[in-house]
């Protein structure tokens, strides 16, 4: 598995949350793979299950109430879901690292940034303290923090949001992970800083050939940086494709809606398109295709209302889950 250039391979992942109000199926039958040295983007609105997918890879789902019900997460040929707690700790931070959405609260306020980076380096790389401090300083320089020798001795509250996110990135890459999971790394930042952080990630990826699993609700980010894209809607992947064809010819009406609602250069006059309705709650998913109440094509279609389309690989190598996508229908499909 590791020889075909695939680093992370997720198969049939199902995650449910067992709450007092019922079972919330946050992630259902999600499968995709991340290639070595490439960026894979997971796109979707808030609450569609993309963060839960990312947390599952790190085995960070709080249990209870959450539980990975089914599926495999193969990382470099090993199923992470079967590892012991001790083994998974050796993977976390060392081979797979994660950056969180909220840089303001992702650093411990009582330690200097240096102390926090040093702890990770010492834990995973078994370095001497003084050497670990040198590496930490070097890492801060690498993520573009000016005067790193001074900054390494400062506390998080002395830094801006963008700087803290850089520190988080420095901490994440300090052990040279093979996979970096970036869970909406720029959502909490100013637009100018967003671009800087994303450029930094690109640069670091080029230097170290790590893979990035980029989780975002911003399709604009995806267009420039990802090789492959999965669009998630209400716990399922609705479209899986390489980035270029997704933007050229989106197959799923949800993806089409997302792309239409992006502002474009040269777009003047009329209001931007919005997808009507809101994302359904995991406890109250509609029957049939989960997108049909908001879908411009299938909202009145009987089949869309009753039978849920599965993600299906088409002849052109793309995967989609929509009865109306060209080339999707098979002869043995139910006809209503």
């Amino acid at each position: 598995m590791s020889d075909n250039g695939i680093l992370l391979d997720i198969k049939g992942l199902c995650v449910s949350f067992f709450t007092e109000d019922g079972i919330a199926r946050a992630v259902q039958d999600v499968s995709f793979s991340v290639k070595k040295g490439k960026t894979f983007a997971l796109v979707g609105e808030s609450g569609c299950g993309k963060s839960v997918t990312a947390l599952s890879v790190m085995r960070l789902i709080a249990d209870p109430p959450g539980k990975i019900v089914a599926g495999e997460i193969n990382f470099d040929g090993r199923n992470l879901l079967e590892l012991s707690d001790q083994r998974i700790r050796a993977v976390r931070g060392n081979r797979i690292a994660m950056i969180f959405q909220e840089p303001m609260t992702s650093l411990n306020p009582v330690y200097t940034v240096g102390e926090q980076i040093v702890e990770v380096i010492r834990l995973h790389q078994k370095k001497e303290e003084a050497e670990a401090w040198d590496i930490a300083t070097e890492m801060l320089r690498k993520v573009g923090i000016s005067d790193p020798a001074q900054r390494v001795a400062e506390y998080p509250h002395q830094m801006s949001g963008g700087m803290r996110q850089r520190v988080m990135i420095a901490m994440a890459i300090s052990c040279k992970p093979e996979l970096l999971i970036a869970d909406e790394p720029t959502t909490a930042l100013d637009v100018t800083i967003q671009a800087q952080i994303l450029d930094l990630l690109d640069e670091l990826q080029e230097q170290s050939r790590m893979s990035i699993l980029l989780i975002t609700h911003n399709l604009g980010i995806v267009a420039e940086r990802a090789e492959d894209v999965a669009v998630m809607y209400a716990s399922r992947i609705v479209e899986l494709s390489d980035c270029r064809s997704l933007f050229d010819q989106p197959l799923h009406p949800y993806t089409q809606g997302l792309l239409q609602s992006l502002p474009r250069l040269g777009f003047t006059g009329k209001r931007l398109y919005t997808i009507p309705g809101i994302v359904p709650e995991p406890l109250r998913f509609p029957a049939g295709c989960k997108f049909h109440p908001r879908c411009p094509i299938g909202c009145n279609d009987k089949r869309c209302q009753t039978v849920e389309p599965q993600l299906r690989l088409l002849d052109n190598g793309r995967a989609v889950a929509c009865w109306f996508a060209p080339g999707y229908e098979r002869p043995d499909d139910p006809k209503i």
Partner: protein, 399 residues
């Protein structure tokens, strides 16, 4: 790299920020000074109030009775105080002079050495210093001219000395705060009593904080059923009127200082447990704890290195109130006759002598220890209050 490191200025730590905020209130600083003064009083009690002179010349020979009369525990307290002071100065010096990258290691080494010195020192002191009873009446020797050049402590009375000729005297020139029913000097007993009050406060709160932190941390981190059952137990514990429970327990066990500390500690941890649980509950969902888990840090480090320092603030504040409370409980127990056994002096015990066996009200026996208790409890409460205010806005701003 080396010259690089020396230019580095260490950022303002959380502790320093809290201290700056705390130090803004000059009024509370005075009360903190009062507490420090009390501590000095307790540490140097035998040198401040003692019926033995520091130095005396008898038949042409110099004697040092006070140093011979000090017990092993007196010397242990002095040793611990000196080592603690040196350690404190070293920590202050480290902040300026030692490079941050190796400071944690240096600090741990220093603390280990300090603790080692104190422990070994105490053991040696207890082995090599015999219990001596020096019943010589140096004052009458001076009065009769047998001895000369005596230098006495500022309060030249021993706390265990009885002198029935001067019993139940109101304050006068010889006895500034009067004498009690067996003729002991009240000021002397107050000074020695500060040791009991302060140590009860500290040890009892130490015990209750440790129990509270451990239970609170377990409940807060585990959540679910453990938390539910644990909290019900804590609530049952809270429903019991602690003071009456303590009186009941004390009545069954020997009246020793250690027992009282232990019992106060074992019964007052519920608040700490609730605070720590609430903090851990909140912290568990915080991004930096999630980040720590995602970086593969072991549970030990997550719980005690990353979560506990962020949860300790309310415990610290509660501890200052707890010390005041423990001093109060000890005084109340002694007042009711369940406290430490005489002749060991304690503030509450002196207070209880205010109504003498003859039925007279001896106001000086009630007023002075009462004031001592009042001001000590007030000082701790004020310091705790200011500490809470100092911690609060910082938490909102910087996290």
């Amino acid at each position: 790299m080396v010259e690089n490191k020396q230019q580095k200025t260490w950022g303002t730590s959380y502790g320093e920020m809290v201290w700056k905020e705390f130090a803004k209130s000059k009024f509370t600083l005075c009360w903190l000074g009062f507490i420090i003064l009390l501590f000095l009083l307790a540490i140097f009690a035998p040198f401040l109030a003692n019926d033995k002179p520091f130095v005396i010349r008898i038949a042409g020979q110099l004697h040092w009775p006070i140093f011979k009369a000090l017990t092993a525990s007196d010397y242990s307290i002095l040793l611990a105080a000196i080592v603690a002071l040196i350690q404190f100065l070293l920590v202050l010096r480290n902040r300026r002079c030692v490079d941050p990258s190796i400071r944690a290691g240096v600090l741990w080494r220093q603390i280990t050495i300090s603790v080692f010195i104190v422990l070994v020192g105490i053991i040696l002191l207890f082995i090599f210093i015999p219990r001596r009873l020096d019943a010589t009446d140096y004052k009458s020797m001076v009065a009769s001219g047998k001895a000369t050049g005596a230098v006495f402590a500022p309060v030249p009375y021993g706390f265990g000395r009885t002198d029935l000729k001067v019993r139940e005297q109101p304050p006068n020139r010889q006895h500034w705060l009067g004498t009690d029913d067996v003729g002991s000097d009240v000021l002397c007993r107050l000074i020695h009593g500060s040791r009991i009050s302060l140590s009860v406060g500290f040890v009892a709160v130490g015990i209750s904080s440790i129990i509270g932190i451990i239970i609170g941390a377990i409940l807060g981190y585990s959540g679910g059923k453990t938390d539910f059952l644990g909290m019900r137990l804590v609530e049952i514990m809270m429903a019991v009127p602690v003071f009456f429970l303590i009186i009941t327990i004390v009545a069954f066990f020997p009246r020793s200082l250690f027992n009282i500390m232990l019992i106060i500690g074992l019964t007052t941890w519920t608040d700490d447990a609730r605070f720590v649980r609430a903090e851990f509950f909140k912290l568990r969902r915080q991004d930096f704890v999630q980040a720590a888990v995602s970086l593969g840090l072991p549970l030990r480090s997550i719980l005690f290195r990353h979560m506990l320092p962020n949860a300790i603030a309310p415990v610290l504040v509660n501890a200052t109130f707890g010390i005041a409370g423990a001093i109060f409980i000890e005084a109340a127990l002694s007042f009711l006759g369940f406290g430490v056994a005489p002749p060991t002096p304690s503030w509450g015990q002196i207070l209880s002598l205010g109504v003498s066996t003859t039925g007279r009200f001896l106001w000086w026996l009630t007023l002075f220890p009462g004031l001592a208790i009042f001001f000590t409890v007030l000082a701790y409460n004020l310091v705790g209050e200011t500490l809470r205010d100092a911690i609060d806005p910082r938490l909102r701003e910087s996290v």
